[in-house]
């Protein structure tokens, strides 16, 4: 897609500032929606994020478990990731 460079520049800036705003926010991504209580239980396991603002995001491809995302840092404890690792291990050992 061809974009006017100026528009592109503006889009980039908006994107960057949005990313910055999201940095403060901790996202818990799960396959189905979590109750407030469940969210609290999960986050309390990670002292680093104890006082952060948390948000639940639903992504069925996670399958099970959850992914915690804060800025560019990700803690992946999902079934999807486990399966991914299994696949990798199988390929490597051949």
């Amino acid at each position: 897609m061809r974009l006017d460079p100026q528009v592109k520049e503006r889009l980039k800036k908006t994107f960057a500032s949005e990313l910055l705003a999201q940095k403060e926010l901790v996202k818990v991504i799960s396959a189905y929606s979590l109750s407030q209580d469940e969210m609290h239980k999960i986050v309390s396991q990670f002292p680093k994020y104890a006082s952060a603002q948390v948000e639940n995001k639903i992504d069925p491809t996670v399958i099970g478990g959850f992914v915690i995302q804060s800025g560019s840092q990700v803690i992946d404890l999902s079934i999807r990731n486990a399966l991914h690792l299994l696949k990798k291990q199988l390929y490597e050992s051949n």
Binding site: A16, L19, V74, L77, Q89
Partner: protein, 431 residues
């Protein structure tokens, strides 16, 4: 099925362990893909030179860090990468597997075999980019490395740990000098590494065939990123060769590395830099092009016994256009190296082969490494020959010459004949 059992065991262990075991990954999102280079947002805490992995399993490494994105060189098929996909930092800087078994093999810049042979085990992983040993660990260069080429050993001796540039136009015999030097290391306990950068695959095949025929493959490793490989791999090749050389140097071995050639290396880096939209300077090369080669060639050295006591001798090759040594890359590399062997088309065509221009070739440190016998013979030779070439050109127009000049011309002509040498026939010191 052993792998599955292992995996099940691991899961069982994890379930038994009540404490949550997790690791934090550093990720980013691919924004743009350009030829062999990807730009990604995020990866805030990743470092320069860190290896990253794309969803498809293709790896890359970070060579550019901007305000809110990073530039990643893709090491592999970049066509499988889609914008919007996740990249994960792997928390280590780029390293290549190195092992004793590499000797006799052809490998790519990631240390993987290219010759269709068995996979190579890794004795160790060496970082591709490494800071050269500091002054305190270095020993002076005073052990000769015989090239087996009469004119070089006599006039421009090369010592172990030296960096001697081979420079000349296209087809003047640059690679031949380098390869003859490898052939001459037979039985000298020297490990040789031939690093082909942007060479045609057919040439690499010729090189390996020649070395095999001459029995030189038993102590030689060929590292190749051919002209059909992505620029990123061509850019990496000499650093990989250096990393392999350092592995052997640490074991106390003397290593000879040929970089054939650094002009193409500079082109590859220019391409990567332009794709990353870095500001272009003279001849469209980026600002750090000097550092590109200086940090590579500084890694050639001879180290103290406490550091293994080995050495890395580097013979970089530079191709000039119409003998122009004042172009950007040639001047840079000339100033970095400890001397240069300058090859000329005119001499080559006149049948004086190797076509070394005696007048402007030098070796700045190798003198200390010359054997005594050689020193005695070679003493006045260089001056005489340089004078002769000068005089010969001059006297073409002069019919009656005085006795001294005639003598000089006579002697010069004889020595020039003596210095001629056919390719792939190195001389032993005794001969």
């Amino acid at each position: 099925m052993k792998a599955i059992d292992q995996y099940l065991e691991q899961i069982e262990r994890e379930i038994k362990n009540s404490k949550l075991d997790y690791k934090t990954d550093e990720v980013g999102i691919v924004q743009e893909i350009r030829d062999g280079v990807a730009l990604a947002a995020g990866l805030d805490k990743a470092g320069y030179g860190e290896v990253v992995e794309f969803e498809s399993g293709v790896k890359g490494y970070i060579i550019d860090m901007m305000e809110d994105s990073v530039g990643i060189i893709v090491l592999g098929d970049y066509l499988t990468i889609k914008s919007g996909e996740q990249v994960k930092a792997l928390k280590y800087t780029l390293s290549v597997p190195v092992s004793e078994k590499m000797v006799g093999r052809i490998v790519d810049p990631l240390g993987q075999p290219l010759d269709g042979g068995e996979p190579l085990p890794a004795d160790a992983w060496n970082p591709v980019e490494k800071v050269a040993p500091s002054v305190v660990y270095r020993k002076p260069v005073n052990v000769p490395l015989q090239t087996g080429i009469k004119s070089i050993d006599a006039l421009f001796p090369i010592g172990r740990g030296q960096r001697e540039l081979i420079i000349g136009d296209r087809g003047t015999g640059k690679s031949t000098i380098a390869l003859d030097t490898i052939i001459n290391q037979k039985g000298q306990d020297v490990i040789c590494i031939y690093c082909g950068i942007g060479q045609k695959n057919s040439k690499i095949a010729l090189v390996s065939e020649l070395l095999r025929k001459q029995g030189a493959l038993d102590y030689t490793i060929i590292v190749s990123a051919s002209s059909s490989d992505p620029a990123a791999l061509q850019y990496l090749a000499p650093y990989t060769a250096s990393a392999i050389a350092e592995f052997f140097m640490a074991k106390g071995k003397d290593v000879l590395v040929i970089y054939d050639d650094l002009s193409k290396h500079a082109w590859a880096y220019r391409q990567v830099s332009l794709i990353l939209r870095r500001p272009a300077g003279r001849e469209a090369y980026p600002g750090d092009i000097f550092y590109l080669h200086s940090r590579l060639l500084e890694r050639a050295c001879r180290v103290e016994d406490s550091q293994g006591g080995g050495s890395i001798t580097a013979l970089p090759v530079i191709e000039t256009l119409e003998g122009d040594v004042s172009a950007y890359i040639p001047t840079n590399v000339i100033s970095i190296t400890d001397g240069q062997i300058f090859l000329e088309t005119d001499l080559f065509n006149a049948g004086i082969r190797p076509a070394i221009n005696i007048g402007i070739s030098v070796s700045r440190v190798g003198g200390n490494a010359q054997t005594k016998a050689m020193k005695q013979v070679a003493g006045r030779l260089k001056l005489d020959l340089a004078q002769y070439r000068e005089m010969a050109a001059f006297s073409q127009f002069e019919s009656d010459l005085d006795e001294d000049t005639k003598k000089l011309l006579n002697r010069g002509a004889k020595v020039t004949q003596l210095m001629k040498q056919d390719k792939n026939k190195p001389y032993r010191l005794g001969e």
